[in-house]
């Protein structure tokens, strides 16, 4: 499929994927809607659009959801890929569920790497990428990070080590929604100018729109070969994207979504209840 056509197809599915996130959080009376809605287009791009993800196949790529609290977005995409039945989503965060608050490979086999502690995701990706390099495989490692990851010193350790080992099979998507749990990322702890800093460590960096499917697909396509080191996409996004009352409001980082607001949000997305 042409990238333009593919992008359109993914874009059409995006409201459905967002709707699943909202239903999960409504059912669990807790979760992280803001960051799940900002990251969902990136996850759909990498796992569905790019199409090299199959956790049952050792030859396929690795996926690390560094910002593990956006688990609802990941679970939503797993339904899209046919790994999970839709109704299982309503077990999210409940006793006995495979859908833990943060992804757990021992409960859910489609999770390749457990995540949830900010700062550890990129290091896990470095380990996976180093392993694939040592065995000269063509497997790539995709890691999704959030703003909170950039406050953690360990992420900067991993940035240094990925550059040192010239891990050209490591691709980072930063969900740059510019908000953290308690407020604006620059107020909480200023790490900017960001892309320039990462570049100075020896990475290839590109700023893109994390809600623009065509731009994300084209960027992946352009960088798929001839790289000498790791790649970092700073994906500009809107926290709470797609639901007007959640967009750019830090309180929606972690919150319940009561029935009336779920209804309103689903209506905005053009979905029935």
């Amino acid at each position: 499929m042409e990238l333009t056509e593919l992008a359109k197809t993914l874009e059409k599915r995006a409201p459905v994927l967002r709707g699943r996130i909202l239903r999960m959080i409504n059912s669990a009376h807790a979760g992280h809607p803001g960051g799940s809605l900002s990251v969902i287009d990136m996850i759909q791009t990498v796992l569905v659009g790019w199409g090299h993800f199959d956790p049952t196949d050792h030859n396929k790529d690795w996926f690390v959801l560094g910002k593990g609290h956006a688990a609802p977005a990941f679970y939503s995409v797993l339904v899209e890929l046919g790994y999970l039945p839709e109704d299982e989503l309503l077990t999210y965060r409940k006793l006995g569920s495979r859908l833990q608050g943060h992804p757990d490979r021992n409960k859910l086999p489609f999770v390749q790497v457990n995540t949830g502690h900010l700062g550890q995701g990129l290091s896990l990706g470095v380990g996976l990428a180093l392993a694939e390099r040592l065995r000269s495989s063509n497997k790539k490692v995709y890691v999704i990070l959030g703003n909170g990851d950039l406050n953690e010193g360990q992420t900067w350790e991993a940035i240094q080590s990925a550059a040192k080992f010239s891990l050209s099979n490591l691709i980072i998507f930063l969900d740059e929604n510019k908000l953290t749990q308690e407020g604006i990322a620059t107020d909480i702890m200023n790490v900017y100018p960001l892309s320039q800093k990462i570049e100075n460590f020896g990475w290839t960096v590109k700023d893109i729109d994390g809600h623009n499917y065509l731009e994300m697909l084209c960027s992946l396509n352009n960088f798929k070969s001839n790289q000498s080191g790791p790649i970092w996409f700073t994906c500009n996004t809107i926290k709470g994207k797609g639901v007007s009352f959640m967009e750019n409001v830090p309180q929606w980082h972690s919150a319940d979504l009561p029935d009336d607001l779920l209804k309103k949000a689903l209506q905005e997305l053009g979905l029935s209840e």
Binding site: V113, H117, S123, G127, E132, E157, A158, S161
Partner: protein, 310 residues
């Protein structure tokens, strides 16, 4: 019969890794810029592509090891125990939570790092490690037992912490000793008046103290615990029923480590317990021998302490 040559258990690390690497092609060694002190230089020279230098990035190194293991390798992370257990604790916990198997080696435990001072004297690692589910904790004693422990544990299906001494000790075991995780080993089995249970770095002092006690006509036994987790629970329960006094001796805080683990068990059946170790104190700069005397961990003080309590 104890071989009187004094050799530091850490001196066998590099040689053992070389042996394992010949057979296990997935073995990788991760260093955090302490390879000369932790005896990794020979491995780095022979297997440069399997030696991963991560600098002073212990948290990164721990998570990198987790990633390497998930992707099918057998990484071994080696550093001072302050930095391989203390610094990356949440990273270790995440690896355990995810059931990712690999090996963490901690050298220079407790007072073994003497002159560097209280900042570096790790007296809390057994407690920190023991409390994490799915993480096993081992304390081999001499070079041969250490080598056997490494060959047994590296590449198995668990997350393992091996605590390896820095101070020279006699060679007690023959080269073909078999380290069995979770199975303690009697160094002396001559009665149940007092049973001394020691971790790998303290077993020699415990043994010396026991010989002095035996000369006083007491029935003494000495147990090398080998693993803090899994703990040889059946043996400890049996000993606590049979003996008049159990004494734990460890190069660690009396809280949460060997003494803590044994206390948890003994309390279920009753029995007297004396815990010898750091009494909830930090260390300071001094030689290891001086610190052991100050904290009651030399053989003479162990002997006197037991006499007082028996």
């Amino acid at each position: 019969m104890i071989d009187t040559r004094l050799i530091a258990p850490r001196d066998i690390i590099g040689k053992t890794l070389l042996q394992i690497a010949d057979e296990d092609k997935t073995l990788l060694v991760l260093d955090c810029d302490l390879g000369r002190s932790t005896r990794l230089s020979s491995f780095e020279q022979k297997f440069p592509s399997r030696f991963i230098q991560l600098g002073s990035q212990e948290q990164n190194a721990l998570s990198v090891a987790t990633g390497l293991s998930i992707a099918g390798y057998h990484p071994v992370l080696v550093s001072f125990t302050m930095f391989s257990i203390g610094l990356p604790w949440t990273q270790i916990r995440m690896a355990a939570y995810a059931h990712v198997p690999f090996t963490i080696i901690g050298t220079h435990p407790g007072f073994d790092i003497g002159p560097d001072g209280g900042t570096h004297q790790m007296l809390e690692d057994l407690a920190l490690a023991r409390v994490i589910p799915w993480l096993d904790v081992h304390t081999p004693s001499d070079i041969h037992e250490t080598s056997s422990a490494m060959r047994t544990l590296i590449g198995n299906d668990k997350l393992n912490y091996i605590r390896i001494g820095r101070q020279p000790v006699p060679v007690y075991y023959p080269a073909d000793v078999k380290f069995t995780p979770g199975r303690a080993d009697f160094w002396m089995d001559k009665g149940r008046d007092v049973v001394l249970i020691a971790d790998g770095s303290m077993i020699f002092n415990a043994y010396e103290a026991a010989r002095m006690l035996a000369e006083k006509g007491m029935g003494i036994s000495v147990v090398n615990i080998r693993s803090i987790k899994p703990l040889d629970e059946d043996l400890i329960l049996q000993l606590s029923k049979e003996s008049k006094l159990i004494v734990t001796i460890e190069n660690h805080s009396i809280y949460g480590g060997l003494g803590g683990a044994v206390a948890e068990l003994v309390s279920t059946v009753g029995g007297r317990l004396l815990r010898i170790g750091s009494q909830d104190k930090f260390g300071e700069s001094a030689s290891t021998d001086e610190l052991r005397v100050k904290h009651g961990l030399d053989s003479n003080n162990i002997y006197l302490n037991i006499l007082k309590n028996v």
